[in-house]
Each structure stands twice: as C-alpha cells, then as structure tokens.
Amino acid sequence: MPATPRLVRNFSIIAHIDHGKSTLADRILEFTGALSQRESREQFLDKMDLERERGITIKAQAVRLAYKAKDGETYQLNLIDTPGHVDFSYEVSRSLAACEGALLVVDATQGVEAQTLANVYLALDGNLEIVPVLNKIDLPSADVDKVKQQIEDVVGLDCSGAIAASAKTGIGIEEILEAVIARVPPPRGQDPDAPLRALVFDSWYDSYRGAVVMLRVVDGTVRKGQKVRFIATQAECEITEMGMFAPFPIAFDALGPGEVGFIAGNIRSVHDTKIGDTVTDAAKPSKLSLPGFKDVKPMVFAGIFPTDSAQFEDLRDALSKLRLNDAAFVFEPDSSEALGFGFRCGFLGLLHMEIIQERLEREYSLDLITTAPSVVYKVYKTDGSVMDVENPSRLPPLQVIDRIEEPIFKVVIHVPATYVGAVLALCEERRGIQKGIQYATSDRVIITYDLPLGEVLFDFHDRLKSASRGYASMDYELVGYRADDLIKLDMLVNGDPLDALSLIVHREKAYQRGRDLSSKLKEIVPRQQYEVAIQAAIGSKVIARETVRAMRKDVTAKCYGGDISRKRKLLEKQKEGKRRMKQVGNVEIPQEAFLAILKID
C-alpha cells in the first residue's frame, strides 16, 4: 500500500571523507529504532569489506526509516546514501536526483572541502533543500561560528538554521530529523495513475536475483508482477520481487509516487539497469525519460595481466563477474609482447581501478600485473580519420599522425592560503592552465586549473597533499580535449621493448621522464646472472641508459640441521617474490617495474 506522499521525505547526506557521514547515518538508524546499537556494527551503510577498510562508500545504499515526529505523525524517511569519491560523481548526482533534500555535514573542526563543495553544487542544481549540519562539536577544536561563516561565504548557503551536532555522542540527532520533516519538501508529482516513470539511482548484481535495482518513483505506481522497461537500455523484465531496506529487507507489492525501493526480476546484468535510466511500464510506456541520464564512459585504462599465463581464463571469469556488478567497468582482451595475454580494462578513475585490482587479487586469488594507467588520447591522422588510443603501445606510426589531443580536466583545489604558492607551482609543472584563484575566506583559497588528465593520474594527488601538508582537497571533471606536443616514449630491457611501459608524454618532459624511469627501473630490476641494459627511447633514438650489474652468485652458506627451517623460509619468500615477476627475454622483471612510472617525481 503506497504511502501518502505528504508523509514521505527523501534525503541524503553530503560530506567529505572523514567528516562523519557514516557515523551520522548509523546514529539516525539507531535513533529511529531501525537498528539496535548491537546491530549497528560500525557504519552499517558501508556494506562491502573494502569500503569498510578504506572508509569510503563505493555503492550507494538507501534505507527506509519510520519516524514519529513531534507533530504526532509518523513519517516515512528514505535516507539515500551517496558514494563519497570523485570517481563516482555521476552516481552521486543520480542519488541526489532521487531526493528532495540533503544534509550537508561539515566537520566543525575542519571546514568545507573541495569535494563537499562539488556535491553541494550538484544538490543545488537539483533544487534540493539543504540543511547544514556542523558535526563533531564535541571536539575541543570545533569552531562552529567560523565554519558557519565559511559555509555562508564559500557555498552561499544561509546558515542561520544550521544544526550543531555530534554523530559520535548523539547530540543534535533529533533536531536533524525534525529539520528534515519541517524543511525538506514532500515528493512532487503525486498522480498514482499517471504512466510510470521511476529513476534508477543504484543497481547491483545478486547471484540469486540477478540485477537488483534501486529506484525512486516519480510518476505512477510500480507493482509486483508488472512488466517494466528500462528506456535507455531497452531491457525489459517482469518484477518478481520488490521491497525496501529498513535496513533489513522488507517486501511489498507496490510503490507509489515519491517512494523509494528496490525491484528485481531476473535481469542478467547491471548493464541493463544503468544508473540514471528511467523505468516505465512495458505495455503503456511513458514517452518521456527522466532528465540527466548519462552513459558513463571509463576515463582511465590499464592492462591487467596474469603473472602465470595459465590463469588467463580464470582472470577472464573474474572480470566477467565483476562486470556483472559494475556498469562503469569495461574490459577487452589485450596482448603485450612483454606480458603475454591479458585484458585492457577501463575505469572511472584511479580509485575505481585500485578497487577492481584489489578485488581480483583478494576475492579471486589471482596473481596480477597491472600496467601503469593511461588516459584516452584522440589521435587525428593525416588521412582525416580520428582514433581513440588508450594504450600507448598502440599509437600509430608518427608519420601518419597529424596531431594528438588529450583529455583536459577542470580541477578545483581548496587549500589554506599558506600553501597557495606550492600548489600553483605543482599545477604549472603539470602543464596546467590557470582558470581562477578565489579567496573563499581570508585564509582559504579556491584554485581552479585546466589540467591534462594524464598529468593528474601520476601521483598528482600525493604531491598535492604533500605540497599542502595534507590540507588541500580537490575535485575534478572532464571539460574537453586539447592538442599538445605529445610523443611516445619506449623503455627497452636488453634491447627488448617493454611495450607495457611505453607512455605518451609531452616532448619537453620526455628526456627527464626517460632518465627518471631508467634509473627507477635500475633500482627495481633485481641483479641477474648477466648485465641488464635499461634504455629509454623515442622512436629509434635512445635518450637514457642504465646498467644493472650482473649478480655472480646467490649464496653458498652452510646448511645443516639447525639451518634448514630458516633457509627454507628464506627461499619460500624468494619464491613468493618471483611469483610476481615476469620473464622478458632473459630478464626477470618484478610487478613493481610496470608501475615505476607512478613512483618517480
């Protein structure tokens, strides 16, 4: 039985990592009685282990709560969690589109960060009612007034109604819930008999149910047994199950306008249920899809190869399984002279890449070599055609290239005024074009640059953190492509090209990169029985050379009864290290070498 829309509130929480979003969500669950303290294992909403370890929400979650407000009415609150990392900002925008309001949680000891700001703008674009919450007021360093002032200055948000809270101690939780009732508007679009339109804001793969879809009904009613269609993907299914999490799953038969819930119906994969798509009735379809759908495209590509070529099929299976659950992840077979057969994989960003890599190793016990990530270059050929190159070793010969364009990101950096100089220097060094410097307050600065994504990929974030002693935060989005003087740099080991290490780089930086990379490889490549020459080359021209001296022996120590365990353990460790090595010609190259490019500065 669909609820009265008047008594429904859909809201989410916007916060920077570590500003206490998950703790606040837990506290709200506890306060409304959805979760006992015992059940609320720390941070219930972050479901996956990896998320728990990294403290980052990767997949959005939604929970329905019943709250008896001070006005005597019992409201249905749908708390829609949003992913907390810039790689997933599209998913954030769709989660927000399912809401009428958002809590803006700001750490009262830290102030606003770049990522928070980006999400607040997404929320403002969607006309959401924003309720500022100043968290962690129990800490002695909390400065509520200063942070309020900052929110007003930087975000332009009226903070007179801001709530001071501590998710840790429970201060302010009731005020927050009352503010949600009073200030967040009930859902619009109230005709339960209109043609069905519902927004997909999350979906995941469940091995029993197929793809499970979280949706927000905008018009009409969705019922169990109904045949529905996804407008963008054209997939259809009959709903066999529907319900909501409270936070444990509860089943029901219909969802009315403004309500949030999940549906399932033996949908094969999440590629049929893309986030942002519109669900409509298959027999009486609505002509109009909901606005904002985007087919998200991977921005970062890397090769993933099994260390042991016998694991190729296992890797393919594992990638296929991960893809079932991740519409933004793509892969296709690839081969490298140095690394054999593997896959070229596309990710939303670096974090997304790390997560996938870690899951492959942890959940599927695969020994992998991952190459340094690359962006997608647009190569304009002299015959007028354009090709996308996401693997530097596939760059066509120089003579057929007219120009190469690279993806440019608008990067917004928030930093205390003291570190502005260091941050500007870093951006300039990375071929950035300054777009603006704005003093948010007297000591907080917002720096905006257009930067090539290729430059952002390589330890930019680490460098930014160290240039600002950890105080800078950043956000980025694609703004377009730009041509530059880009060339391919190759690395050779004993004359054999390590195609997996080829990279596309700006001409002015090629010599330095080549030298740095050679000397880094010299450190990483272990001494072997013969000399190993490491060279960097542009075309056929060698621009840097290093030599790894030959190792003449390993060890010839004694080995009697008391030495056996120690020696065996040593060799077991050695063997484990070798597992991660790849034979290139005569030379054993450790996994690390393929990421050497990430380790130079």
């Binding site: 042991d308 016998a310 029985q529 190792m551 003449r552 022996k553 390993d554 060890v555 010839t556 120590a557 004694k558 080995c559 009697y560 009864g561 008391g562 056996i564 365990s565 020696k567 065996r568 040593l570 060799l571 077991e572 050695q574 063997k575 070798k578 034979q583």
Partner: protein, 402 residues
C-alpha cells in the same frame, strides 16, 4: 628401519669468534674481565642433563637404526672425554644395537685439541674429528678471532693424525676481507697436504647479531664482493679436486668414501634427534614431521632436562623452546633445497613418495624445464641435480622449484 642421526650440542667455547652465530657461551679462561659472569663448565652435570633428555626422548622412538652421532657446538673438544663418552654410550645403548657401527664425529678447535685429547676421544668410541682450522694464515686467524696460530693448526692436525684418529676433517673459511682466490686455494691445498680426508669450505657469511655483523653494519668490516667470492669458490674447488677431494656438496669435499655420513643424512632429509641446549631435532610423524629446538640457556636447559617433564614446552618447565610442524609439501621443499646441494642431486619421485605428496605439480615441472634451458639444472627422469658450474645459484634454483 629408518636411519637416525643424533646431534648433541655442547654450548661452550673458550672465546666467541667474530663471525659465529651458533649458540655458544664463552667460558672462564677467556671471559675474565669481559664483564660476563661465566662459571667454569660443569662437565658431568651437562652430561647428566643430556642423558636425562635422551632417556625421555628415546622412550617413544622405535624403528630407527643409528647411522651417526655428531657432537657439535660450541667447542665439544672442551668436553671431558669421559663425560662425552657417557653420553655416546647411552646413545648407542638406546639405538645402536643393530646394523653397521655409526659414524661418531666431534667438532674440535686446535686450541683445545692435542694428541692426548684425540686418543682419549678415540678411546670412548669417536672415529671422526672435524677440526675448526678456518685459515692457515696468522693475520687472517686473528681477524677471525681464532685463538690458534697457523703453526698450531698444522701441529694439531699432524698430532691428531699420528694419534690414530680414523677419519679427519678440517673447516676452512674463505673470501675473508680482501683475501684473493689464490690465497683461498693455497689454504685449501695446505689442508689437503696435511692429510685430512674431508674439507668443509665456507665463504664468509656475515650474520646479524655477531661481532662481524655489528662491524659490517657500521661499515667497518672489509667485505669480499660477489665476484671475488665466486672466484674463490671455484679456486678452492680446483685446488681440492687436484688433491683428490671430490666436491660432493656445495660446501663440502671428501676423499673417496670419506663423506660426512651425519651431514649427508641432513641433505637426504633423514630424521635427526637433537640433544642438549639449543639443539634442533626433526622426526617424521603421521602426515608430516615435527621440528623442535631446545632452550638456548645452558642452566635453564640442565634444570628442565632433569625436571619432571623434560619434553614439555619451556613455559611449562620443559626443554622445548620452539616447535614447528612440517607438512608433506614443506618436507618435500626441504628435500629439494637440501638434495640439490649434493653433487648427486635427488630423485624427486622417491623423495615425494617418502613424504607422501605429488612430485611434479604443473608449476614445478614448468620451472624445471626453464631451469634446464638456462643450464641451472640437469634432469634425468625424476633425478634432478645442479651442474657443477651452477652450484653458486643453487638456492635460487631450489626456490624456483618450491
């Protein structure tokens, strides 16, 4: 009947050598003024403790034939031969009734060995002495922290030979500081000329926790580089081959029939019973093997061995400091690591059958193929061995086959 080696550790020395990482304690004569408080050795009490441990351990052991007894240390030539003899007798009584007489070796230092001591040891049943000569050069001996001179070492070997010790081995350390390969070879040649049947030659390895380790850490120990070490390895090998000693294990050379049977037992993966303070033992048991080590402190060891529960963990008043369970796969890895050290290599199928596991999983077969292609390994059916010129890579080769 399975062959059994018995190892008895004697944890005392006159003076600790700079490179040594064995468990040994300096005794009264040299320790005066060093700040350590060390009592003179109580020879009989230590023997009583070892005998008590032996009684406890032997009670549960059946189906073994005693192949060898090895007194190591420390410096077991410091032990009163009568006390050592009591231990040896008891070991033979427990295990030695059947089969060929066991090999009985005692490690000796020239500074605590002469003709009389050698005769006394032979009288209690010892048939092999392993003498820690280490170098035949006074400066190098001083650097190593040895108490004897080159001439004393020569004299000792001659006396011992004359005393009628049936089998004689000497230890040599090479690649010490800037020692040349020619000098290493000269030392080896001289040992052979002095009439030893067996030489153990070790490249100097600097271990942490030793005086050398400490010096090296501070950059104050001259060290031979890889290349010099390898050249010395082959120079020693050539000198001893010319003198008729076969290079039968990475660090060991013997005249025909003179291989150290006790040590060959280790390299074949035979069981060994360790007795005494800090001794290691490894015995097969259902589905694998158990390795243990006794407590390192002599006084604590002696008290525990003679206590009510000698075989209990140290925390419960026994002698056992650490225990390691070895499964079949681990045992096979050890047999590969040890077997490849020998000139004859090992029969992998046989070794795998003995411990109860698969000899040739796919990964190992492929690794063997690659090693053969690189000249690191010779494979004849199931027999694997390391060619002589690839001896210096034996650890890496073994690891590849793990």
């Amino acid at each position: 009947m399975h062959p059994l080696g018995v190892y008895v550790h004697f944890p005392f020395c006159l003076q600790k050598c700079g490179y040594c990482d064995f468990v040994s304690y300096e005794t009264a004569p040299a320790a005066a003024g060093s700040g350590a408080t060390l009592a003179a050795i109580d020879h009989e009490a230590y023997a009583d403790a070892v005998l008590a441990e032996l009684d406890a351990r032997a009670a549960g052991l059946e189906g073994y034939a005693l192949a060898s007894v090895f007194f190591g240390g420390g410096t077991p030539s410091l032990w009163e031969p009568r006390a050592l003899g009591r231990v040896l007798d008891a070991v033979r009584r427990h295990f030695g009734a059947a089969g060929a007489p066991p090999e009985v070796t005692v490690e000796c230092n020239p500074s605590s060995l002469d003709g009389d001591r050698a005769r006394a040891l032979v009288d209690v049943g010892v048939d092999r002495l392993s003498v820690g000569v280490q170098a035949v050069d006074d400066a190098r001996l001083r650097h190593l922290g040895r108490l004897h001179s080159a001439d004393e070492a020569r004299a000792t070997l001659r006396e011992v030979r004359a005393a009628g010790v049936p089998r004689l081995s000497a230890d040599l350390i090479y690649a010490v500081g800037d020692q040349t390969p020619a000098s290493a070879a000269a030392d080896a040649r001289e040992l052979a000329d002095l009439g030893v049947d067996h030489v153990s030659a070790y490249a100097l390895i600097v271990e942490t926790g030793t005086r050398f380790g400490e010096l090296a850490r501070r950059g104050r120990l001259p060290l031979a580089d890889d290349g010099a070490m390898v050249e010395s390895f082959f120079a020693v090998d050539a000198a001893l081959a010319e003198a008729g000693l076969e290079h039968y294990e990475v660090s060991n050379f013997a005249r025909p029939g003179e291989r150290a049977r006790h040590n060959v037992g280790y390299w074949r993966g035979d069981d060994y019973l360790g007795l005494g303070c800090a001794a290691y033992g490894t015995l097969a048991q259902a589905g694998g093997a158990m390795r243990w080590r006794n407590v390192l402190d002599p006084a604590r060891y002696a008290a525990a061995a003679r206590g009510a529960t000698p075989l209990a963990p140290a925390a419960e008043g026994g002698v056992v400091a650490t225990v390691e369970a070895l499964d079949a796969e681990t045992r096979l890895r050890e047999r590969i690591m040890l077997g490849l050290r020998m000139r004859d290599g090992l029969d992998l199928a046989e070794a795998a059958a003995a411990v109860g596991c698969e000899p040739w999983p796919r990964e190992r077969a492929r690794a063997a193929e690659r090693l053969v292609a690189r000249g690191r390994l010779v494979r004849e059916g199931d027999r694997l061995r390391v060619p002589h010129e690839a001896y210096v890579w034996v650890d890496d080769t073994a690891a590849a086959l793990f």
